[in-house]
């Protein structure tokens, strides 16, 4: 394991921010810390960077305990949400900054700067100042600066959330390509589940200072373990056991043993089959046309279900429909 985090805890003014959090990251792995604001993900990243001291727990990097090592000796490349470039320095000077602090030769710095700027697609813009660059370009400079000293890890603190949606998507895939090409282990903090699903090898889903679930994006989406994960990652219909027993008894087989209220059934909208049926028991309550798909709310036996239909659909509000489910997962309520 490249990075090991063991039982990290942190509280501020008696308020617990991190409660015995443990996970690890392999070489080359892209890990996303995903969770709502206030879940402790940024604090965890800052602890890994050495910018915040944990109250308890250990951090080991490549087998070496770095828990008490100051930030400047950790060799971590950090990219912030925004406003982290020195406004008085050119893009090239910003990228060269950590190398200058390490007193490397000017020739070497200049060569590495232009190589890195080239890498992030900013070749030729090295003499621009941050206020002469777009938000996306600024984040590219920040990324190049984080990579300047060949860091042991790359840490990204919501690096895309201050950008326009179009640029966000583009930079998202570029960061991922760069990370794969360099093979650098990376931790990214985000509250955007779509971003985490698209980028991560492994998602660490957090809530209230605890880890809810660790897994691949597919794991988290298809096999969420808790109601929180099911609702936070993607959209979900969460159905009580009694309702499933009445309507879709076939799914009861795979239900883990436990009391009636211990588990709920998570049914993703795209797994809900809605078909026009004059004798159907369900009624369309709302129909939202979204181009490539349609989002349909149906009322069925006293419950509302959200369904997503591919392609064109002729359903309209008030239509009688029949409902069926393809698959789903049982989650802790």
């Amino acid at each position: 394991m490249h990075l090991r985090i063991d039982d990290i805890a942190k509280s501020w003014d008696g308020h617990t921010v991190l409660d015995a959090v443990s996970f690890s990251a392999r070489e080359n792995e892209f890990v996303c810390l995903l969770g709502p604001s206030g879940c402790g993900k940024t604090t965890l990243l800052r602890i890994v960077a050495g910018l915040t001291a944990p109250d308890a727990g250990r951090i080991a990097l490549a087998g070496r305990d770095i828990t008490t090592l100051p930030a400047r000796e950790r060799r971590m490349g950090l990219v912030f949400q925004a406003y982290s470039l020195f406004p008085d320095m050119t893009a090239a000077a910003n990228v060269g900054y950590p190398m200058r602090l390490r007193r490397e030769s000017p020739a070497k710095i200049a060569a590495r700067c232009s190589e890195l700027l080239e890498r992030v697609g900013l070749g030729g813009l090295g003499s621009r100042f941050p206020d002469e660059l777009s938000g996306g370009q600024q984040q590219r400079v920040a990324l190049a600066r984080a990579l300047a000293t060949e860091p042991a890890m790359l840490l990204l603190d919501e690096p895309l959330s201050a950008l326009d949606p179009a640029i966000r998507g583009q930079l998202r895939s570029e960061i991922r390509l760069l990370q794969r090409a360099l093979g650098i282990p990376t931790i990214m903090v985000t509250h955007d589940q779509e971003e985490a699903l698209a980028m991560a090898d492994t998602i660490v889903c957090m809530n209230h200072g605890r880890i809810e679930q660790i897994g691949t994006p597919r794991d988290l989406y298809e096999r969420p373990r808790s109601r929180f994960v099911a609702e936070f990652v993607g959209r979900a219909n969460l159905l009580p056991t009694a309702f499933v027993r009445d309507t879709m008894p076939g799914f009861l087989e795979r239900r883990p043993p436990g009391g009636e209220a211990t588990y709920e059934f998570c049914l993703r909208p795209e797994d809900v089959l809605v078909q026009s049926d004059a004798h159907g028991e369900a009624v369309v309550e709302d129909f939202v046309f979204l181009g490539n798909l349609a989002r349909v709310t149906v009322s069925w036996r006293g419950r509302r279900l959200l369904a997503e239909l591919r392609g064109s659909s002729t359903l309209a509000r008030g239509d009688a429909v029949s409902v069926d489910a393809m698959r789903g997962a049982w989650v802790c309520a």
Partner: protein, 543 residues
């Protein structure tokens, strides 16, 4: 464990020592002297003596009356001027701004001097028209203090006006509010705390002002004058200290109230939005224009009169124009001006370094350190210059430090610096708040320490505030009178004090010449500051 967000508390050592030695120590000495007798034993006798002399309670009541009357005149006028600047379509706003700079460039006694030359018993009006004029006393003080306080009210109210976004007015207008109702329902409620803060400021300044009192007060003696004559006239330091404490009490109270007001002030909208373009409204602009003229014409007239007086042969009898007052006529030559310049430069240099270190050290300081230091750094705003100056005389005239400091340029500089410490510190701290946290972290992960944080993250953002602080301290030190009045010695004359002495002895033309030198130096400093800030803005890339 070290981290970038760990406070650099060592930065606080020097500023804290400075505050202790050059602010708390003299202040404590004043308090101590007011409750001890000549032998050094405890007594409340000084306070009882306050009532023996009927002149003292009378002076206190007069100070209070002047303070209240000045506040009552100054705040509405300041509001009108701020409205003229921000909520009108008046032409010539630049002229209003320029005129408002005058009282900040001139010692408060220059306005008084202008008033006396214009409306005194032997003033220009009397000379030209033969009318009997006698401005000395309550009305003279009221006019001089009102004009002196005006720019500060305008600054505070303008800041609050600028924070009110246009959409509030759009909303009010769309619901059918007339311009007058918009003023009552949108403008005024958001100015409440600004007006309150401005009122407290003007009240305190007037109560503790010495410059106007000594020039236009005449036989209408206020508390500041009483302290001056106790100390300088009768060498009764105990009584001077006691009167100082009496003056300190209301000043402390009003600064404390202003703090509460400021804490409750809403900081405005996070998103300022579209700037307001005032609608056409002839009546409003006429009224505001008339008020602005009424307030600013006298201001310009007074300074112009001083300039005129400085170039006449023998005021007011022989008004032949001459430059003699600037060349051969100056009794002390340019010495006092040079001393003032040196003192101001020293105060500005030491002050900006100390205040920078203080604000930088407090950036990440834990609450237990930050709260008391913040309080201490802002406390000088509540201490009248005369009280601080008296403290310097009492603290540094005797004792171990007297050999080093008293009578030297340094001690006068420090007195001026700590007199204006609070405002300089607040300006610097406001600058510090613009430094993004992420930059500190970026330095830390790049391998830098506190020095790198200060140089690469803090300085680019704080440079404008630091430059403003430097020139603010320089200009204030040039024009200050009340703080340094007790500290000048025959060998160490200051320009502002020389103006006062010459005025006392009736050499008005020479006094005016020295006054104009001070105004000129302050104006040049202001010009230099504007130029540097402009160049900095062009050259640098900080938003």
């Amino acid at each position: 464990m070290t981290s970038a967000r760990a406070p650099a508390l060592w930065l606080l050592i020097l500023p804290a020592l400075g505050l202790a030695l050059f602010f708390l120590h003299p202040l404590a000495t004043v308090l101590w002297r007011s409750v001890t007798d000549a032998q050094g034993s405890f007594t409340v006798g000084n306070y009882l003596r306050l009532f023996d002399d009927p002149g003292l309670p009378r002076a206190a009541l007069r100070s209070l009356a002047i303070g209240i009357a000045t506040t009552a005149c100054c705040v509405p006028l300041g509001l009108a001027l701020a409205m003229a600047l921000h909520r009108s379509r008046l032409p010539g706003k630049a002229c209003i701004r320029a005129a408002l700079l005058l009282p900040m460039l001139a010692p408060s006694l220059v306005l008084g001097l202008g008033l006396v030359c214009l409306l005194g018993r032997n003033g220009l009006i009397h000379r030209l028209t033969g009318a009997t004029t006698d401005i000395y006393g309550f009305w003279g003080l009221l006019i001089a203090n009102t004009l002196y306080g005006l720019p500060q009210v305008v600054i505070i109210v303008s800041a609050a006006l600028a924070r009110t976004p246009a959409r509030h007015y759009d909303a009010a207008a769309s619901m059918g509010a007339t311009p007058w109702r918009q003023f009552l329902d949108v403008t005024l409620p958001r100015l409440r705390f600004a007006l309150l803060a401005a009122a407290f400021l003007v009240f305190t300044e007037t109560l503790t002002d010495f410059g106007s009192a000594v020039v236009v007060g005449g036989s209408y003696r206020v508390l500041a004058m009483e302290i001056y004559s106790e100390v300088v006239g009768q060498l009764d330091f105990g009584m001077g200290a006691t009167l100082g404490v009496v003056l300190l009490a209301p000043a402390l109270l009003s600064v404390w109230l202003a703090r509460i007001a400021r804490r409750r002030q809403d900081s405005g909208d996070a998103m300022p939005g579209r700037m307001l373009l005032p609608a056409k409204h002839a009546w409003r602009d006429t009224a505001l224009g008339a008020l602005s003229l009424a307030a600013l014409l006298p201001m310009v007239a007074m300074v112009a009169t001083v300039a005129y007086v400085s170039v006449v042969k023998l005021w007011p009898y022989d008004r032949t124009l001459t430059l003699a007052n600037y060349t051969s006529g100056m009794p002390d030559g340019y010495g006092p001006v040079a001393t003032s310049l040196g003192m101001s430069f020293l105060a500005a240099c030491a002050g900006s370094v100390l205040v920078f270190a203080l604000a930088a050290g407090l950036r990440r300081a834990p609450r237990g350190v930050a709260r008391p230091m913040q309080f201490l750094a802002s406390l000088p705003a509540a201490v009248p210059g005369m009280v601080l100056g008296l403290g310097y005389v009492l603290a540094f005239d005797h004792g171990v430090l007297s050999g080093w400091f008293y009578g030297g340029l340094a001690i006068v500089s420090f007195c001026s610096l700590y007199h204006y410490h609070a405002q300089a510190f607040l300006a610097m701290q406001t600058g510090m708040r613009q430094v993004p946290d992420a930059l500190d972290d970026a330095v830390a992960v790049s391998g830098g320490g506190t020095g790198h944080v200060l140089r690469d993250a803090v300085l680019p953002f704080v440079a404008p505030a630091a430059i403003s602080t430097f020139f603010y301290l320089f200009m204030r030190s040039m024009v200050t009178l009340s703080g340094v009045i007790f500290l000048v010695t025959p060998d160490l004359g200051l320009a502002s004090v020389t103006v006062m002495r010459l005025d006392e002895n009736g050499f008005l033309a020479q006094a005016a010449a020295y006054a104009m030198c001070v105004v000129l130096a302050a104006a040049l400093a202001l010009g230099a500051m504007r130029l540097i800030l402009h160049v900095l803005k062009e050259r640098r890339h900080v938003a």
